[in-house]
């Protein structure tokens, strides 16, 4: 606001100013013009920085978002994904990318596009930035190429985004395990390249394509040998254990290494072919092939069996073939270039195998490494390439043992199923080595036999009724609280052994060359009484050679044989010495099985050990050889005389065998269940034990107490059916304190479906009070 001075006398001046203001456009309008220019410039700039739009087709485009995903070229954002759509057949994702103006030249033929996503593997960690920034599309291009707008994307990122003219080699092998894309290639410990591709060559054998960096390409010579370096090598030798990890990159996948042994060859052209050896040693064994013929090729393995000279490995068996005409195994070996010239006409190749017996251990190293071939260079100068392989002299064990046989008592042991014992296996008597097995043979009647020799000082322990049994190499015993591994001794650990004993029963001394049966275990062997037969109605769980007979919990015998005779099971059992009294007439035998019911758990140990047969000695003077087993223990009630009463009910689930209880004490049992004559009532006959018969009075009330009440928190669950634990139901009864008169046998009582409310099964003082004044309670 302009304050005009009152003294100003010149109205023209003021008018002039107004006129000027009115005639011109106020410079205030510069502001919107600036705004307009700024806005336009921004939009124009934005438009100008846009290059052409290209489309790239991918098989899949994970993590690509229109408007967000960037196209990266040499680490620079060269464009943005503007749209994504599927092609018409729905088998490609077509991505439209708006290039930036400076990257417009990417839109030309020969440009590769791929989606960079994080790869985290042992071999390769790549694209980590895409974890943070999201996936992006990357590009690489080659010079030249006409303009293009439609591209086919690569399925996976190329290993070398910016191509250089590297040396590409092809490595062949019969099988190439675990080497794959990205596997590093080392030369004397320097990573000089990577495996680009794994596939099949034109002849169908696997090959890998390795790319050697340009600056290292002159390291590959025409005589270079390539081998696979395993991921991790554990080498153990006496006194040292070493873990050899070539490189972190190769930690799990291994790697490829190459080197040339001997003078360097020429440098190479691209796409050269090489053989890939399975390990360095194989790569080093590059001498001319040497054929060695063996009579027995056991243990020789192509590519693994070494040829050693003075104990040092110098070569490797390359192939093994069997020649049917000469009946020999032909092994082709190659030696290191240092040793290859030493192979002359009088060289010797001997196969070394492990040999372990009671007399000593030879070639123990070969246990771990397998057999090897010892090479002894000859002295002649004449080269040769075919040799007859020599065998290690097999030590004849029997030769050593025959003196012992002469010095001991020979015995023949037979079994239908001969234990796995070899010549030299120990024979024990009370834990002492009393002899040895001399040989395995087939007896005259065709059954397998062992010829054993018992030393002189033990020969008096050998009686005609001596029992032999086999001792397993190691046995595992499991019992409540005990897990034990037993092995009889170091020498028996290898193959087990045989033991004998007479179990204290006297007998005539054994004759020369006596024959004995080998029993499968000590229990069977120790049960030496004459067999008896026990007939069971149900033989469930009986196992020949396993099921034991027990008397007062002590094992006294064993079931030898189980067979079915006349719809029952007949078990042949033997007792150990000293338990003959269990064979007296009137002895009882019963199978003990696990039993779980509401009354308790019985024979729970048989769940683990299997059933056993419980014995009770009889008092008869005779010794019968056949017994009838007692049925599984039932409450002896059934045969007991008792006080019988009859219960009537229109409907009940109570069955035979249901216990009858008074104040939770079982006093009797239901012995029969039948329908009444008119079919409307169920009549249960119950037997109350004699001593409890006075509890049954004329005013006794019987009810079905099968119902199981369970209380879970606030809920009260009632199960109104016989439970598996209690299949026949239960009956309870009560007699009021003011007892009624006594009743006769077979008095009929009604069976209440449930406990009457006036009664409690377990009377408490208050309730009995109430019971005495029913009138008061009803009011």
């Amino acid at each position: 606001m302009k304050q005009e001075p009152p003294t100003d006398p010149a109205p023209e001046v003021e008018g002039e100013v107004v006129t000027t203001a009115r005639s011109g456009i106020s410079w205030a309008w510069l502001i919107p013009i600036i705004a307009l220019v700024a806005t336009s410039w921004l939009y124009w700039n934005n438009w100008k920085s846009q290059g052409p739009e290209i489309t790239i087709a991918f098989a899949s485009a994970p993590g690509v978002d229109p408007g967000k995903t960037a196209l990266i070229y040499r680490g620079v954002k060269a464009g943005t994904v503007s749209a994504i759509h599927l092609d018409r057949e729905l088998n490609k994702v077509v991505i439209s990318v708006r290039l930036k103006a400076f990257a417009a030249h990417l839109a030309r033929e020969g440009t590769d596009f791929w989606i960079e996503q994080p790869i985290i593997s042992i071999r390769e960690i790549a694209g980590l930035e895409s974890i943070i920034q999201g996936n992006s599309i990357h590009a690489r291009t080659q010079p030249g190429g006409a303009d293009a707008t439609n591209f086919q994307g690569l399925d996976e990122a190329p290993l070398k985004p910016l191509d250089a003219p590297d040396l590409v080699l092809k490595l062949h092998s019969s099988s190439i395990p675990f080497i794959g894309r990205g596997t590093p290639v080392f030369h004397r410990g320097v990573a000089v390249g990577t495996v680009r591709q794994k596939g099949y060559s034109s002849d169908g054998s696997p090959e890998v394509e390795a790319v050697i960096d340009q600056k290292y390409s002159d390291r590959v010579k025409s005589n270079s040998r390539f081998w696979i370096v395993p991921a991790t090598t554990v080498s153990a030798s006496p006194g040292s254990l070493s873990l050899d990890i070539p490189a972190l990159e190769g930690l799990l996948d291994g790697s490829i290494a190459f080197d040339h042994f001997g003078p360097a060859g020429e440098t190479l052209e691209n796409q050269a072919n090489f053989k890939l050896s399975p390990h360095e040693f194989a790569a080093r064994a590059e001498g001319p092939p040497v054929t060695i013929e063996f009579e027995d090729g056991t243990g020789l393995r192509a590519g693994e069996t070494r040829v050693t000279c003075l104990g040092q490995p110098v070569g490797l068996i390359e192939t093994i073939t069997t020649n049917p005409t000469t009946r020999r195994v032909e092994a082709v070996a190659r030696l290191n270039h240092h040793f290859a010239p030493l192979v002359t006409a009088d060289s010797e190749f001997t196969i070394i195998r492990p040999s372990i017996n009671q007399n000593g251990i030879h070639g123990l190293g070969t246990l771990v490494t397998g057999p090897y071939i010892a090479f002894d260079p000859g002295k002649s100068k004449e080269p040769a390439d075919t040799f007859a392989g020599r065998e290690t002299r097999q030590l004849d064990l029997n030769l050593d043992l025959i003196p012992k046989v002469e010095g001991g008592t020979p015995v023949v042991l037979w079994a239908d199923d001969l234990p796995k014992v070899d010549a030299g296996a120990p024979i024990y008597h009370h834990g002492m080595i009393a002899g040895r097995v001399v040989e395995q043979r087939t007896g005259e009647d065709g059954r397998p036999e062992l010829l054993a020799s018992i030393e002189r000082k033990f020969s008096d322990k050998l009686l005609s009724n001596t029992r032999f049994w086999r001792i397993p190499a190691a046995s595992l015993s499991v019992g409540p609280g005990v897990v034990g591994v037993q092995f009889p001794g170091l020498s028996a650990l290898w193959q087990g052994g045989i033991a004998f004993d007479s179990f204290g029963s006297p007998g005539p001394a054994a004759s020369e060359n006596a024959e004995y049966q080998i029993h499968p275990n000590e229990q069977t062997a120790s049960a030496i009484s004459s067999p008896i037969r026990i007939v069971f109605h149900n033989g469930q769980g009986l196992l020949a050679g396993k099921t034991e007979l027990k008397y007062l919990g002590i094992t006294v015998g064993i079931v030898e044989k189980v067979r079915v005779v006349n719809k029952s099971v007949e078990a042949t059992v033997r007792f150990q010495t000293g338990y003959g009294f269990l064979r007296r007439g009137g002895s009882e035998f019963a199978i003990i099985r696990p039993e779980i019911d509401l009354k308790g758990v019985h024979g729970i140990e048989t769940m683990i050990t299997g059933v056993y047969i419980a014995c009770a000695p009889g008092s008869g003077a005779d010794f019968p050889d056949s017994f009838n087993a007692v049925p599984p223990a039932e409450p002896e009630l059934q045969n007991e005389p008792g006080f019988e009463i009859v219960l009537k009910s229109p409907s009940t689930k109570i069955d035979e065998g249901a216990p009858i209880s008074y104040n939770n004490t079982p006093v009797g049992e239901v012995i029969s269940k039948k329908l009444s004559n008119n079919g409307k009532q169920i009549i249960l006959t119950a037997r109350i034990r004699e001593e409890h018969s006075n509890l049954v009075r004329s005013n006794s009330v019987f009810w079905d107490s099968t119902r199981v009440e369970a209380k879970i928190g606030f809920l009260k669950v009632e199960i109104d059916s016989p439970t598996p634990l209690d299949p026949s139901g239960r009956i309870a009864f009560h007699t009021p304190d003011l007892v009624g008169r006594a009743v006769k046998q077979n008095t009929v009582f009604p069976l209440q479906p449930e406990q009457p409310r006036d009664f409690s099964d377990t009377p408490v003082p208050e309730k009995s009070e109430k019971r005495r004044s029913p009138v008061f309670r009803r009011r």
Binding site: S26, A28, W29, I31, P32, A35, K68, G134
Partner: protein, 164 residues
């Protein structure tokens, strides 16, 4: 400054505001990057984002503060300028201008919020907030309306040309 100049300036500023209102609303005002997920938000996009994430009251507040109020201010200024010289509806115009002036005090709250957000929200790779050109245009719109409202004097409602 004469009233005519004031009116000219007010008109120019309101016109600039209207021009700048377009890029202010169409350009992204900020980039939010949360764990690598870059979100480029325009004002209306931010409102939508807030509404989608269930913060409806905040969304409505931001919508009013950022879109409705600037627009109403511009519209109101236009109305006042169009009615300039007329003697009708003097009281409502004065009332409208008074409200407009008071609301103008709060109009920079968005800019303030974003500047705080951009300063605080730099959590490295986890999250970052970057202002984008849109916010400059938005601020320019607000400045235009503020200056327009400041240059326009309420007395001109009744006395359009006191010294004419």
């Amino acid at each position: 400054m004469t009233d005519r100049t004031r009116i000219d300036f007010t008109k120019a500023l309101v016109a600039s505001g209207l021009i700048l209102y377009i890029p202010a609303n169409f350009l992204p005002v900020m980039n939010i990057t949360i764990t690598g997920d870059l979100e480029s938000l325009t004002i209306i996009g931010g409102v939508k984002e807030l509404a989608d994430s269930g913060l409806m009251p905040v969304a409505i507040f931001v919508f009013c503060a950022s879109i409705v109020i600037p627009f109403l201010k511009l519209a109101c200024m236009c109305w006042l300028l169009m009615m300039h010289g007329s003697q009708r509806l003097c009281a409502p115009r004065a009332k409208a201008f008074q409200i407009l002036h008071q609301v103008g005090t709060w109009s920079m709250v968005d800019i303030f919020l974003l500047s705080v957000l951009a300063a605080v929200g730099q959590l490295g790779i986890m999250a970052s907030v970057e202002p984008q050109p849109g916010i400059i245009f938005f601020a320019a719109v607000l400045l235009c309306t503020l200056f327009a409202a400041d240059i326009y004097k309420p007395r001109m409602i009744w006395n359009p040309s006191p010294s004419a």
